[in-house]
Amino acid sequence: MFNRVFVEEECLNSPQVIQLRERFNSLEIKQIDRIDHYFGRVKKPYLQKRDGLNLYIGQKRGELIKLAPPAYGLSGEPHFYYVHAYNCLYECEYCYLQGHFDSPDLVWFINHEEVIKAMSDKLIEFPQEKVWFHAGEFSDSLALSHLTGELPLYHDFFKNHPQALWELRTKSVNIKEVLKLTPLPNMYISFSLSPQKESKEIDLLTPRTLHRLKAMQELVDQGFKIAIHLDPIIHSDDFIEKYQELITQMKEHFALEKVAYLSLGVVRFTKDVYHQVQRNYPDSRMHAQEFVKGLDGKVRYPRPMRLWMLQKIKQLCLDQGMIEGQIYLCME
């Protein structure tokens, strides 16, 4: 799984490292002083994650929770994301992590108590409001949760702070650790979904869409709240039919009123990420898309096309019985 594991000295006896040693006894673990002395110090090509992936374990320094950009989640409430890891095992061709860290190596931060303290401080700052905390901005929040083991800590915090809303964003079907927890009214497990064919072609190494739907079904059956991100939507001549089929499949697995919220977003890139996508996946059908480069450097569909696509998919959801209040447009 990992080529090497680099661990900061004070984390050598952490439960995560002990568990890794037990599970993978041939794993080479190397002590380092600080992650940032190694990770990101040199530009490591993204696709080296296929055969040369390293893992770093240490303390998150600096900002532990960050304000999310506008249109990140349901409007009206402040949104923050917390950073418990960098990078991901999956290989989605559009992923912005390709251009973000200059290294595909995984980083696990294990000072969760400090992150939770920062969340508490934020709640004091917004005493009258619901405050969202999202996990999964720079990594999948569940894919390795059986190894990272932080979910119970956060669960305790959110159990005792009902004004704080917790979102776990994922493409994984690794829900074992979630199922060990009791459902909370302020806990949401959100899945990114794409039509089966898209997912197979473009979301490399991720669980298939039907498997994700089954995981969602199981969570709903166990009383957990779920949410959906139909993001990124990628255009093809038959994309409406594909999404029609996906929404039908969703409906076959759980009642759509059980979906706490659904976000819609079309594929978009910063200039640097798009350059990386061209380099990493030169044959991707992504390069046959009608993208334009805006004055802000973003590469995306022209605005009329984006809005047309979003309206079409939104209408499909409404036609299947979802209501306006459940749906929001992401980053528009």
Binding site: Y38, V42, P45, H235, L295, L307, W308
Partner: protein, 350 residues
């Protein structure tokens, strides 16, 4: 023209090339540049600064004749699992510069089926184990030149490949120069055999270079149009558009009879091709132009944001006579901005 430039740090590493091929010294600003009827060879000396200086000079003068740069030579191993005397291909080059890590790295162009490893170019020779241990956090192999050569190649837009023979374990105190003297001939021979095997494969690759499709070959294509045509054909292929359908929509038999300049005919073909590749884009612009047609009369010009991110519409009118003003009023009355705006918001039939 498909000439390679082989770059070696030391003459010993290049000896098989110099013996078995008819490289002749090229009079130049410094010694160490050779050429035969096919390729070039440079002895760049040790260290990334010297190597990059010499390669820069050569590419500045002869770059147009060179189509790729191959760094050949020995390197040290930083990991015990990499065997001595094995041939490897370098995947990514990093640089350690007098104790500090350089952020920039360079990935190479893969040419062989050899094992691929990362390499760190160092400021000085790696003689001590603690130095080697620090370096091996970043790469499996170490040399003194590759990063410098790769950086120059990027500057000159030259494909760069590094093929190395693993000579020793770095940091074990052995002076590599002694080993080079003893084993240089063997290593050089191995590198020479490897390069011969690559050259054979190159011939096949050249066969696939872009050719203008026969249906379009009797039109005149400038270099930039040819490049654009290549991009358009690649996009058509990625979209899985049927080539016969594409050709049928171009109306080539009519186009060839038109009394326009040859370059304009090729431009018209390119425009139609991009229209097929980007139908939505074309449709949006057609719809906008259609709405704006009531304004675009003789004395009014309209301009909208081509990125379509803004609703702004710029009008420019020239009024030289009362009838121009009347015309402007009529046109503005006839123009439906809401309808125009709706197109920008995606209300469009596709």
């Amino acid at each position: 023209m498909n000439q390679s430039l082989y770059v070696f740090a030391h003459r010993g590493e290049a000896q098989s090339f110099l013996k078995q091929r008819s490289f002749k010294a090229v009079p130049f600003a410094f010694e160490g540049l050779y050429k035969d009827s096919v390729d070039w060879l440079l002895i760049c000396g040790e260290g990334h600064l010297q190597a990059s200086q010499k390669l820069s000079a050569v590419l500045a003068v002869y770059g147009a004749e060179i189509s790729r740069v191959l760094n050949l030579g020995v390197c040290g191993s930083l990991r015990s699992e990499i065997e001595i005397d094995s041939l490897v291909e370098i995947r990514t080059c990093y640089l350690e510069n007098d104790g500090a890590m350089e952020f920039k790295s360079f990935s190479t162009e893969a040419l062989t089926e050899l094992p691929k490893h990362d390499l760190i170019t160092t400021y000085q020779r790696v003689l001590k184990s603690d130095y080697a241990e620090r370096l091996e956090n970043f790469a499996q192999l170490v040399d003194r030149e590759a990063w410098g050569l790769a950086s120059v190649c990027q500057l000159f837009h030259q494909p760069f490949t590094a093929l190395k023979m693993v000579s020793d374990f770095a940091g074990q105190g052995t002076e590599i120069c002694v080993a080079v003297k003893e084993k240089a001939e063997f290593w050089s021979e191995q590198l020479f055999e490897l390069v011969i095997s690559i050259s054979t494969k190159d011939d096949a690759k050249e066969f696939h270079d872009f050719q203008i499709p026969s249906e379009l070959s009797h039109f005149h294509w400038t270099v930039s149009q040819k490049r654009e045509l290549k991009n358009a054909i690649e996009a058509i292929s990625r979209k899985h558009l049927d080539w016969n359908f594409v050709i049928s929509t171009l109306n080539l038999s009519e186009l060839i009879l038109e009394k326009t300049r040859p370059k304009e005919k090729s431009s018209a073909i390119l425009e139609k091709l991009w229209g097929l590749i980007n139908p939505f884009h074309t449709k949006i612009h057609q719809s906008l132009e259609n709405e704006l047609s009531v304004l675009n009369t003789g004395n009014i010009k309209t301009k909208y944001d081509k990125t379509l991110e803004s609703d702004e519409l710029h009008l420019q009118a020239v009024i030289q006579h009362p009838r121009h003003l009347e015309q402007l009023k009529k046109s503005l009355d006839a123009f439906d901005f809401t309808k125009y705006q709706k197109i920008l918001y995606g209300n469009i039939d596709v």
